[in-house]
C-alpha cells in the first residue's frame, strides 16, 4: 500500500466504491467517526492523530475531508502536516462539484447525501433533539424552503428515505443525481 486515505466516516462507502471502480489497489482507507461533524472543532486533532498513527508507513497520505465547518482550521492543520485534503466547504459542495455548487448560490436549501439519507435519524433527527422535542423543528428549519437530496447512486430506497425526511422537516423535496463529483477527481490525483 502506498497511499493512505483518511476519510470522514460519512464518505466510507463512496471512497470504497471508487477504489473498487477504479481498481486503486495502492490505496488503503481508514475512517474517522462521522459524528465528528457534530463537533467540527475536533476534526483537526482527530486528523492529526490519524496521520501520526500512520507513522510514516505510507508514501502518501490524503485527507478526504473538505473544510466541514472547521472555519479553515483543518486546512491549516493539513498544511502543517504536509498532507492534502479535498477542496471546498463540505461534501454537499464537492459531490455536486465545487464550482457548480457555488454557482447555484442556494441559500434556503438543506442537503442530504446518500449517507445522510441513510442515517437521517442518527445524524439529523436525534442529535437535534427532534425525537423528544419535535416542537423545535421550525426553530431549526423554519428558514429553509427545500430539502435537496444529492444522490451519489441510483437507489430508489434512498430517494424514498430522503423524501420522507423532507416531509418530516416540512420542506419541499428535490433530488439531484451528482455521482461522486469532485471526490473522484480529488482521489484520482493520488
Amino acid at each position: 500500500m502506498q497511499t493512505l486515505i483518511i476519510a470522514c466516516g460519512a464518505l466510507a462507502r463512496e471512497v470504497l466504491a471508487l477504489i473498487e471502480l477504479n481498481s486503486w489497489q495502492h490505496m488503503e482507507l481508514i475512517c474517522l467517526p462521522a459524528d465528528l461533524h457534530l463537533r467540527p472543532e475536533r476534526i483537526p486533532d482527530a486528523v492529526e492523530a490519524a496521520v501520526a498513527a500512520a507513522g510514516g508507513k505510507y508514501q502518501h497520505i490524503f485527507v478526504a475531508y473538505a473544510d466541514c465547518g472547521t472555519g479553515g482550521l483543518l486546512a491549516a492543520r493539513c498544511e502543517k502536516l504536509g498532507v492534502e485534503m479535498i477542496a471546498g466547504p463540505h461534501c454537499y459542495s464537492f459531490f455536486e462539484g465545487n464550482e457548480a455548487f457555488s454557482a447555484r448560490g442556494e441559500v434556503t436549501s438543506f442537503y442530504l447525501t446518500d449517507f445522510l439519507a441513510r442515517q437521517f435519524e442518527a445524524f439529523v433527527w436525534r442529535p437535534m433533539g427532534l425525537d423528544e422535542h419535535p416542537e423545535l423543528r421550525d426553530l431549526y428549519f423554519g428558514n429553509y424552503e427545500k430539502l435537496v437530496f444529492l444522490a451519489q447512486t441510483e437507489d430508489e430506497g434512498l430517494t424514498q428515505a430522503a423524501q420522507a425526511a423532507a416531509q418530516k422537516l416540512g420542506l419541499d423535496f428535490e433530488r439531484r443525481f451528482t455521482g461522486y463529483g469532485d471526490l473522484e477527481t480529488a482521489l484520482t490525483d493520488n
Binding site: 467540527p40 473544510d67 472555519g71 463540505h90 441559500v107 433533539g129 427532534l130 423528544e132 423545535l136 426553530l139
Partner: protein
C-alpha cells in the same frame, strides 16, 4: 421528574427558594413554570428588572456554562431559551413602564447568504436580558442593511453571525465597507458563529469574536464601559 417534583407548588416556596427553582426550571426548559413563577414574584412586589436579572438571566447564565462545558447541547439550550422567552414576554412591557438600566444599543443580524439564526437569536435575547436595546435585522443581510440600521438607530454595537464557512467571509465585506465610509471606529463590532474563531475575528478587523451568548454579553459590557471611560 419525580411525582414529588411534579407536585411542587411554586407559590409555597419563599423568594430565594423560588428563584433557585426558576433556575432549575429554566435549565429543564419548563416554560409554563417560568411564567407562573414570574407572576408570583411580581405579585410579591419584585421589580421586573430584579426578576429578569436574578431569576431569568442568572438561570440562562448557568445554562450557558453547561453548554460551553459540553454538559448541555443545542436542543436543551433552545428549550431553556424558550422558557426564558416566555418569562420575558411578561416582563418586557413592565420593564418599559418601570424603567431599567440601558447599557447600549446593538444592531444584530445573520450575514448575506446565511439563513441560520439560532445563535443570533440567543445572543439577542441574552443581550436584551442584560439591558441592551436590540435591533434585530434577521437573516441574510447585505452590507447596506447593516450600515443603514447602524446609522438610523444610532447604535453602539454591530453584531454579525454566520454558521457557514462560505458565508463568514462576508463579515469582512461589511467591516471593509465601514472602513471605506470612515465609520468603522464609531461602532463596536462583535462577531460569532460556529465556524468562527478568535483568529478569524482579528483577521477581519472585528473588535472581538464571541464564542457564545454569555461571552457576547460580557464582551459588550466591557467595550461599552471602555467607551464611556473614553468619552
Amino acid at each position: 421528574m419525580s411525582d414529588e417534583e411534579d407536585d411542587l407548588i411554586l407559590d409555597e416556596l419563599d423568594d430565594s427558594e423560588l428563584v433557585l427553582q426558576m433556575h432549575d426550571d429554566l435549565y429543564d426548559g419548563m416554560a409554563d413554570e417560568i411564567a407562573e413563577a414570574v407572576h408570583i414574584l411580581l405579585k410579591r412586589g419584585w421589580t421586573p428588572y430584579d426578576i429578569l436579572t436574578k431569576a431569568l438571566v442568572e438561570g440562562m447564565r448557568i445554562v450557558g456554562i453547561d453548554f460551553r462545558d459540553g454538559i448541555l447541547f443545542v436542543p436543551e439550550v433552545l428549550l431553556a431559551a424558550g422558557a426564558m422567552k416566555k418569562g420575558m414576554v411578561i416582563l418586557k412591557p413592565l420593564l418599559v413602564e418601570t424603567g431599567a438600566p440601558q447599557l447600549g444599543k446593538m444592531v444584530i443580524g445573520t450575514v448575506k447568504g446565511d439563513i441560520h439564526d439560532i445563535g443570533k437569536n440567543l445572543v439577542a435575547m441574552m443581550m436584551e436580558g442584560a439591558g441592551f436595546e436590540i435591533v434585530d435585522l434577521g437573516i441574510n443581510n447585505p452590507v447596506e442593511d447593516y450600515i443603514d440600521a447602524l446609522k438610523r438607530e444610532n447604535a453602539d454595537i454591530l453584531g454579525m453571525s454566520a454558521l457557514l464557512t462560505t458565508t463568514m467571509p462576508y463579515m469582512k465585506t461589511v467591516i471593509d465597507t465601514m472602513i471605506e465610509q470612515g465609520i468603522r471606529d464609531d461602532y463596536i463590532v462583535l462577531v460569532g458563529g460556529a465556524p468562527l474563531n478568535e483568529e478569524f475575528g482579528k483577521a477581519i478587523g472585528s473588535d472581538a469574536y464571541c464564542r457564545d451568548a454569555a461571552v457576547a454579553v460580557e464582551t459588550a459590557k466591557a467595550f461599552m464601559a471602555r467607551k464611556h471611560n473614553q468619552a
